[in-house]
């Protein structure tokens, strides 16, 4: 009996965790996916995410409007994206290295300006209750869903449709698969990549604002646990497919919730390994899905990490 209840608690906590924790993963991975589809990789999204978290929190604190914070976080994110996109078009400038530098720079700027916002508390994003039908408090809590999560699902579906069916989607995919082909079609490759990286930065910024404005819900320097970097692996796992990004984000969210969930029913042995579950999972997936002989299936042809 008690074992069943414990299992239920763990499953419920993982379900709730999957929904709560996955939102930043979802946004960052969609952003990374879009950037990579255009043929560049932006490792700097970690910095963008942290800066988005800080700027969103600061704006919400000053104006009392958390949604304005989300918007500003996105705009700041696209600013970082623009910097990445602009610098990488210069000859001999390596996109991976610029990403690492931007990670350091974005995190540094966020910590620099964020010092003043560690103490005060800002208005948080509201959530929508989908669980009023249930008597069970755990279920109710699990179904307190943030609108950004739903927005993320809509975005994933939209990107999936747009990349497949629209002229813009075709332009981005062509640019990512073969820059010479895109050039021959009269596409401005640098511009497409700049805009894709900016859009990617916008999404990553929003993902960051979710961290500070909803869950965990305050601005601290240890806020991000590397979501921006794990997004890179997550996109590989999802094979550059927006819908798969959504499932992968849920899986990562659930894996991240495993440790705290087990601890809540008294299993604290190996707590740290359960905390590392998302990283171990990512690594295993990368090992299983990579091959030295061919590039990854579904990978954009111009991408430097899969060449």
């Amino acid at each position: 009996m008690s074992g069943d209840a414990g299992l239920m608690t763990v499953l419920l906590a993982m379900f709730a965790g999957a929904i709560r924790v996955s939102t930043p993963f979802l946004f960052v991975s969609l952003g990374e996916m879009l950037t990579e589809k255009s043929g560049r990789i932006n490792l700097g999204l970690e910095g963008t995410l942290v800066f988005g978290a800080m700027s969103g929190y600061a704006i919400s604190y000053h104006t009392g409007l958390p949604w304005l914070g989300v918007l500003v976080a996105g705009i700041c994110g696209s600013g970082f994206g623009a910097l990445h996109g602009y610098l990488c078009k210069l000859p001999k400038v390596n996109d991976i290295a610029i990403g690492i530098a931007l990670m350091l720079f974005g995190t540094g700027l966020a910590f620099f300006f964020g010092k003043a916002y560690i103490q005060p508390s800002a208005p948080r994003l509201p959530s929508i209750s989908f669980g009023t039908w249930s008597e069970h408090p755990g279920v109710r809590q699990a179904l307190e869903i943030n609108p950004l999560f739903l927005l993320g699902i809509a975005l994933a579906v939209f990107l999936w449709w747009a990349l497949k069916n629209t002229r813009y989607g075709l332009t981005i995919r062509t640019t990512g698969d073969s820059a010479p082909a895109a050039l021959a079609l009269g596409i401005n490759v640098d511009k497409v990549r700049l805009l894709s990286t900016m859009a990617g930065g916008f999404f990553a910024g929003i993902g960051g604002s979710f961290l500070s404005l909803y869950y965990p819900g305050s601005w601290t320097e240890g806020l991000s646990s590397g979501q921006g970097l794990m997004a890179v692996a997550l996109v590989i796992f999802a094979r550059w497919n927006p819908i798969a990004c959504f499932w992968a984000a849920l899986l990562f969210g659930a894996a991240g919730a495993l440790g705290p969930a087990l601890q809540s029913i008294g299993i604290s042995r190996g707590y740290h390994f359960f905390n590392a579950a998302p990283y171990i999972l990512t690594l295993l997936i990368m090992i299983a899905s990579s091959s030295p002989r061919r590039s990854l299936k579904g990978a954009p042809g111009e991408l430097s990490i899969t060449k």
Binding site: L104, F112, K115, Y279, S291
Partner: protein, 371 residues
């Protein structure tokens, strides 16, 4: 060229001089461009400070005073730069093969942990030199295996080394936490979960006449050795070919797989050594203080030094000085400690962008032609 053909005797001489001048011109590029990049990032950072209403002159004079002004600040700088040297080598050696390893911090953490863990059962009976020797080996093995794995995954499974090394950093942290908060926790220390101390008698002392521990000197020697390895041996030459053109290297029958794995293992062993010195010279035990971001600063150091082991030494000292002045800047100018991070990020960006200017300026090009 026209006048040299008339008198052969002078021709030899002037072409020798011209050759020397050409060489100078070409190598000057590698000094002038980074220096200009340094100055430019200084200007950008000054603008950043000015927009915040702070004085750049104050800032740079405080960096000078806090990092290099007195013998005390010099020693502080040198102590801080020691781990940067090791972790930068962890980036520089695989970079010769075209690999970007950014998880050196993980090898540092595990190296430090392995050193402390192996010391615990030996502390009561082993003499100091034996203990330290075993600790060094454990740290280098742990770090070397960790990053060596990244290299093996890269070569045999095609797993991207940048992301794999970073994921393994997080895993290394959880291994450290698992043992330090569990089986190996020192019950007599209620404050911060740590392993049992290795004993103050067994700790590495300072270089005589200074407060700087031996890690710095070890790092300098290691930089020299790895410079020789990468530039004066067949191993280094083969690594350079494999880094330049993988297919050509394979066609030549070079053992690319072994080169990749061994380079990564050497790199990891360097970062592991950083962890050893953190434990044996600074903390005296392994705990979360090992995760101090040295591995990430090492990436910056290596890129600033263009992955040249000899250049890593001055660059590490330079960044060590900036880090050492952080406290002073915080107190005197009322700037947050992240100021140093902003400066580092800016420096990193500008240096990377400066890559684009190599070969662009006619003044650095040899007159004779393409080369």
């Amino acid at each position: 060229m026209a006048d040299t053909t008339e008198t052969p005797g002078i021709a030899v001489q002037s072409s020798f001089a011209a050759d020397l001048l050409d060489r100078f011109r070409r190598s000057a590029e590698y000094v002038v461009i980074p220096l200009l990049a340094l100055v430019f990032s200084g200007i950008l950072f000054s603008i950043f400070l000015l927009t915040l209403g702070k004085s750049p002159a104050d800032f740079f004079s405080l960096v000078w005073r806090g990092g290099f002004g007195t013998s005390f600040s010099w020693q502080n700088t040198l102590v801080r730069s020691a781990p940067f040297i090791f972790t930068a080598l962890c980036v520089a050696v695989p970079a010769r093969l075209g690999l970007v390893i950014i998880g050196g911090e993980g090898a540092l953490v595990l190296g430090g942990f392995a050193a402390a863990a192996i010391a615990i059962p030996m502390v009561d009976w082993a003499p100091g030199f034996l203990l330290l020797g075993v600790m060094v080996i454990a740290a280098m093995l742990a770090g070397g295996l960790w990053i060596g794995c990244v290299g093996a995954l890269r070569h045999y499974r095609g797993v991207n080394e940048t992301i794999a090394s970073l994921l393994m950093f997080y895993i290394a942290v959880s291994i450290l936490n698992f043992f330090v908060e569990g089986a190996l926790r020192d019950p007599s220390d209620p404050n911060k979960p740590s392993t049992r101390p290795i004993g103050s008698d067994n700790m590495i002392g300072a270089i005589p006449g200074t407060d700087v521990h031996w890690g710095l000197l070890t790092g300098v020697v290691l930089c020299g050795l790895l410079y020789l390895l990468m530039n004066r041996t067949t191993f280094g030459f083969a690594a350079q070919i494999a880094g330049g053109n993988l297919r050509a290297a394979q066609a030549q029958g070079l053992p690319v797989g072994r080169l990749v794995v061994v380079s990564c293992a050497i790199a990891g062993a360097c970062a592991g050594l950083a962890g050893f010195f953190e434990v044996a010279a600074i903390h005296g035990k392994a705990n979360a203080s090992l995760i101090a971001g040295y591995g990430f600063t090492g990436i910056l150091v290596s890129f600033l030094a263009r992955h040249n082991p000899l250049v890593i030494i001055p660059v590490a000292i330079f960044l060590g000085g900036i880090a050492a002045s952080g406290g002073l800047i915080q107190r005197r100018m009322d700037l947050p400690d992240a100021t140093v991070l902003v400066l580092q990020g800016l420096l990193f960006l500008v240096i990377l962008v400066s890559e684009t200017f190599y070969g662009r300026f006619a003044i650095f090009r040899s007159k004779g032609g393409v080369l």
